[in-house]
Symmetry: C2
Subunit: 224 residues, 2 copies
Amino acid sequence: MVTGRAASPTAHANAEDPTVFVIDDDASVRDALSNLFRSVGLRTVTFGSAHEFLQHKPPDVPSCLILDIRLPRLSGLDFQAELAKADIHIPIIFMTGHGDIPMTVRAMKAGAVDFLTKPFRDQDMLDAVTTAIERDRNRRDGAKVVANLRAAFATLTPRERQVMTLVTAGLMNKQVAAEIGVAEITVKIHRGHIMRKMAAKSLPDLVRMAQILGIGPASGRAQT
Amino acid sequence: MVTGRAASPTAHANAEDPTVFVIDDDASVRDALSNLFRSVGLRTVTFGSAHEFLQHKPPDVPSCLILDIRLPRLSGLDFQAELAKADIHIPIIFMTGHGDIPMTVRAMKAGAVDFLTKPFRDQDMLDAVTTAIERDRNRRDGAKVVANLRAAFATLTPRERQVMTLVTAGLMNKQVAAEIGVAEITVKIHRGHIMRKMAAKSLPDLVRMAQILGIGPASGRAQT
DNA sequence: GTTGCGAATAAACCTAAGTATGGTTCTCCC
DNA sequence: GGGAGAACCATACTTAGGTTTATTCGCAAC
């Protein structure tokens, strides 16, 4: 079920609005949350089970997931672990009627945004959702930058990748040339190709790209 | 009270061994934890109150803090908040006999490593301590790098700082010169001074330092 | 009031980087 | 077997980067 802006006659469901996903087997809980989120203009999609959620193709917008710890077949915690394993990093807000502290710790350690005990105040839920959406927005922005860089990096030839690594590590052209056993002029040509393909405006720019791509000395400490 | 390696006749209390701090008003708890940690060779210092802990000058080694949620005067959570406010970032492991979920959530959101309910298994505590010490070690390593860079950066004159910012942003010497209204040769001189003072081996090296120092375009995105 | 330092500059000089233009040798693929 | 692209190299030229030596100015500390 979809509510929120998409349900209003004036708004489009364009992939711009943040979306809240709710999984709960209790229809009255789903409706109550839908109403709550709709009241603040948030697009909302509800599911009766984790399985249904997985069927659904997630839209490419900032979103979060609201999950009861006690789900029909799978526990909320196990579902959280499964999503992580499947490399799905949607921020999760847990709800529970009778949770305990170890559950809470496990959920929070695994990155949950919040863990609300029923009954909770509407405002607490809205605050958690705001935080979660914001977190997802940041994560998406970062992931997009990385994806674009990876795509550009993928267009480099093996030799160009090698040269980029050495150049961004701080070696001079002649050192790079000696390292890989070619003439300095060849390195210069590779370098030109690299700058064009990576769309780097300057060497510092390329260095920052390499940082983000995790190229070079292990984790990227300074003091090269 | 100090136990662990320092208490053994063969070891020095040199600032090398990780240290566990315990704050609990119950002496039997303190002793039990001391024994536990000593059994695995961890240096341990115990306190009866948060106040006592603050009196104590923390050694410069990876460490963590074990805290009962219910402290004599101050709640463990409030103490955690105070430490954060005082810019003390020691990882905290909470213990509690009768905590609740909101407390747990608050503690974990504030960065606690773990939140153990009494009675807990020794192994759970040891695992948490291992994680906490490791986390502190990483934090310290990172902080040290930043501190060194900041110290070097502080030796730069205002002009040099300005030039470093523009150069690491990717501007050519002539552009920097135009930007700040000096001759290109002057920029080159400043640049040389910068490289020496910062102990940068190459421009990419300097760029990475600037990244760590948070110099330049806001938070340091690529695509300059 | 002179000594020291930051800042700016100039001339001379050298090295590094970058860009053609032109050419060779592979290999892979159609 | 011919085209595409990768890798390589050379010559020639231009621009950018960097050091050394020396000079000037202002300001603050001694």
